[in-house]
Subunit: 240 residues, 2 copies
DNA sequence: CGCACCGTTCGGCGTTCGCCGAACCGTTCC
DNA sequence: GGAACGGTTCGGCGAACGCCGAACGGTGCG
């Protein structure tokens, strides 16, 4: 009763609904898993999260209904992925905010194999992260192609560098060319946005790096070491 | 039972807990209200949200406990404000994500007075937003002081411009100098970050603009019109 | 001192929510 | 056709949550 009297911001409801989509541990785990940019089946996610298939089906319904996920049905499979780069950024932003709290605990050595592969290099939705992402970003910055001191933007030399690489950068899209994405393991910003995505795609196309298994971990090839050290002066030891 | 079998991301819990803080309409309304950067008393927020004081007290407990709000007790008052600029950015990011959905409905003329004042100029935590924020950002960009085409960063000329203004920009802090903040009414990015905050503070100090009442709406003075049109070529008509 | 006021704590209410297992539907493969 | 499999729907359960009013404890003021 009397609800009409409040001057509560009309955006509050929408904001709460959006946050509610992430405010469940299982759905949060789904979003984090999908940050690898791939499409997962409902069953894979259910197993990953450790809940019943029926439970996960309901979660997917909410996430898709809320516009966070896009789905694609193939035969008896339901593939879902993050709806677009904006959703990926949203999850990244939220994750960046919790990173300082969850001080990386010293883990045992058991699963350090997979973990260290992830720490070395991985994709974060559609761009590089991990030590690889940092190394590339630092290389770009050191060569004056990217400036991070007064914000985060490519320089004119940086534009030329991408041009010389044969990578088309579409500046007309709504997506910013360069954007900082805070790295989870390294705690430092790395290159995201259209340029980060284009560079990652180019590197995979050129065989500079390959995906390890089906996950988001990537490994730099010998070709990649040569290319990255030549183009950006990246220390070869940092990539292996 | 069997929960140990899942490989669920350990960050999922923290992510869900963070989102849960925002996932309530009343708490969301508090965060949006506090985006003006001021400190509100618990009672003011309760009235603003249209809930009982006891209800709001519990909400504040959660928000403060979760690190989103900082509190300051003075006498029988409890003042709360956003904990820091990072929290403000978090709320902005979330709000930017819902903006496209909530297509601004054509409002009646009843409260258009206050609304239009807000649309003209307001502060967004600690920097300018609204048409004023856009005008300043566009002015900086047109004069080559800020570049938005390849990311979002001040140029060297921009650094000099701030220096000539007598505004110290602390680049050593963890906070980025320039950052894009998506405007709610204008749907365009405007200058946030340390530079945006410093410029806003400077403008208020110099009397270029004054706060209207106790809210976040601001009004550009005649001095301000002269200063901004002289320094940035901002069209005077856009500011009034 | 006594009163008004701000905020908190507590008990209780109703709702929402996440979860599961069972039943069901459609696809794929033998 | 039949069996196996992936996914969805449904009913039901228990827990968590948001809300309130009433009672209580400080603070400030007359």
């Amino acid at each position: 009763m009397l609800e009409g009297m409040t001057s509560k911001d009309p955006r509050a409801g929408a904001l709460a609904r959006l946050a509610a989509l992430v405010a469940d541990e299982t759905r949060a785990a789904c979003l984090l898993a999908l940050l690898d940019g791939r499409a997962w089946t409902a069953g894979e996610l259910a197993r990953h999260c450790g809940v019943a298939a029926s439970t996960l089906s309901e979660h997917l319904g909410k996430l898709v209904g809320g516009g966070l996920l896009a789905e694609e049905r193939q035969g008896r499979h339901r593939y879902v992925r993050l709806a677009d780069a904006r959703v990926a950024q949203l999850v990244e932003d939220l994750t960046a905010h919790i990173a300082p709290d969850a001080a990386e605990p010293p883990r045992g050595l058991r699963q350090s194999g997979a973990d260290s592969a992830m720490a070395r290099g991985r994709t974060c939705y559609d761009h590089f992260a991990g030590r690889l992402g940092i190394a590339v970003t630092d290389g770009l910055t050191a060569r004056g192609l990217l400036r991070q001191d007064t914000g985060f933007a490519l320089t004119d030399a940086g534009l030329d560098w991408f041009g010389a690489l044969g990578v088309e950068l579409d500046a007309r899209g709504r997506r910013p060319l360069a954007r900082a994405c805070l790295d989870w393991t390294e705690r430092r910003p790395h290159l995201a946005g259209a340029a980060g995505a284009a560079l990652c795609r180019h590197a995979l196309d050129q065989g500079w790096c390959v995906r390890i298994g089906s996950g988001r971990a990537v490994k730099v090839t010998e070709d990649g070491v040569r290319a990255l050290s030549g183009l950006l002066g990246v220390d070869a030891a940092a990539l292996r």
